[in-house]
């Protein structure tokens, strides 16, 4: 009888904990913002402090090197992309891209560059080699590519150094994207970054040059 009671208590506790855990995960939106201007950890403090004005903010994480600012927020409060971007501005920084993963799995995303497709648009998918090392390189490469009108999608994989591009060939070309990425400091299969720009990259980003 005693064992049965213990088993029931443990089962009830396990059920309660797992329910809470599931509930805890499913009632919060995950917000991911790429922030420009975070030149030092004190800047990050100012950013977090400003967002603490939103009661219920949790799981704050700020990566200094990439400017990636992530947090979670109660889903029922329905934080909007505009609220996030406005609050980053009030903190004195610039939101480049904002993504909200809603508790129900839907994703809302602001785009740095919204490419307008026309009847003449032809979407081309292409992978190109882009040299780089780290998360900071990833943010820089993708940000540069997405800022070009005509680019629909840009995702760089730091393991195989390949940039998956989708672009409208009536608005841009692989050459233009490649040139822009090289101007940001990263060698590509088609273009080489100038030495001065490469040398100005943070130490962690100074990849092995493409010969």
């Amino acid at each position: 009888m005693k064992n049965l009671i213990i088993i029931i208590i443990i089962s009830v506790l396990a059920f309660t904990i797992s329910s809470n855990s599931l509930y805890g995960q499913s009632d919060r939106d995950q917000i991911e913002v790429q922030v420009d201007g975070l030149g030092c950890p004190f800047c990050a403090y100012g950013l977090e402090k400003k967002f603490k004005e939103f009661k219920g903010i949790k799981d704050v994480k700020i990566e200094m090197e990439t400017g990636q600012f992530n947090f979670s927020y109660p889903s029922e409060k329905g934080m909007t992309l505009e609220q996030v971007e406005s609050q980053v501005d009030k903190a004195g920084y610039t939101a480049v891209t904002t993504k909200i993963i809603r508790a129900d799995g839907t994703i809302e995303e602001s785009k740095q560059n919204i490419t307008e497709l026309t009847d003449e648009s032809t979407i081309v998918s292409k992978d190109i080699f882009v040299a780089g090392n780290c998360g900071m390189c990833k943010a820089r490469i993708e940000k540069t590519a997405k800022s070009i009108e005509g680019v629909v999608k840009a995702e760089w994989d730091k393991d195989n150094k390949m940039l998956k591009l989708e672009y409208d060939s009536s608005q841009t070309s692989i050459g233009e994207v490649s040139e822009s990425i090289a101007k940001a400091g990263h060698d590509t299969k088609y273009s080489k970054a100038e030495d001065g720009v490469y040398n100005d990259l943070p130490g962690c980003c100074q990849y092995e040059r493409v010969q």
Partner: protein, 259 residues
């Protein structure tokens, strides 16, 4: 001989700027970065200054408030202990209270770096004794207008300040330029946990007196969470001043706490 300090500072700056890290606020210079609207900051930067006329200890309390992300108001209330040579004696007194205002009018952000420019005004009230201790106790009204421009990245920070300090009788009018380099000794992480080195220069040209003073300060700063502790030593490199105003050195010790 004092030129050695300049050379050491510049060489260290060049060497350390190759590190991929970040830094905090300057110690004796100023910076254009602000910490977000509605932020309150309490700080102090005590200075022990030894000059030809005697010794001064300034213990200021500084309260800063940022109404918006690009504006700041502040008040600095210094308490002064001095000991002068000869018959001038020693005393404890209130120093010159100063009211600070800053407005950031230019901002360019990029990933992991920012360039900002701030207009600055500092109104110094004649609440202190007439001690000829600039920045501590002069007993005269002063109005300073300046521009602070700074570039800050996770690699290094550079701050510049150019301004003019007006005194009603023009006797102490001053064209002032400050240049600061901030260099970190630890990888940038958040929450804040940093040790930073600073190399700071200040040039003062007293336009009516045609005197000139150039100071070099080297400092170290430790910041963890909302608290920052810092210390610096400042020495004159060039001083074309009346004999009694010549400086020997200053030692700074400060703390900052973000409320």
């Amino acid at each position: 001989m004092k030129i050695i300090y300049v050379v050491i500072g510049v060489l260290l700056s060049i060497t350390l700027t190759n590190r991929g890290l970040a830094q905090g606020p300057p110690i004796t210079a100023d910076k254009p970065i602000m910490l977000g609207g509605k932020t309150k900051l309490i700080k102090t930067l005590s200075e022990f200054r030894k000059t030809e006329q005697g010794e001064f200890l300034s213990l200021p309390v500084m309260l800063h408030y940022l109404p918006t992300s690009n504006s700041l108001v502040g008040i600095h209330v210094p308490f002064v202990n001095y000991s002068l040579s000869g018959e001038n004696g020693s005393n404890n007194s209130l120093g010159d209270i100063a009211i600070l205002g800053k407005y950031q009018f230019y901002r360019k952000d990029q990933m992991g770096k920012t360039f900002r420019v701030v207009a600055k005004t500092l109104q110094t009230l004649p609440t202190g004794e007439k001690l000829s201790a600039d920045g501590i106790s002069t007993g005269t009204y002063q109005s300073y207008q300046g521009i602070v421009a700074g570039y800050e990245s996770i690699k290094y920070g550079v701050s510049n300040e150019l301004g003019y300090n007006l005194v009603p009788d023009n006797s102490n009018d001053e064209l002032r330029y400050k240049l600061g380099f901030g260099l970190p000794l630890k990888k940038p992480v958040y929450p804040v946990n940093q040790v930073n080195l600073f190399f700071e220069y200040q040039s003062s040209w007293f336009t009516e007196r045609e005197d000139f003073l150039m100071l070099f300060a080297q400092g170290i700063q430790y910041a963890k969470g909302r608290l920052t502790v810092e210390a610096a030593v400042q020495v004159p490199i060039i001083q074309s001043l009346p004999e009694n105003l010549k400086r020997e050195y200053s030692i700074f010790f400060g703390t900052r706490y973000i409320l």
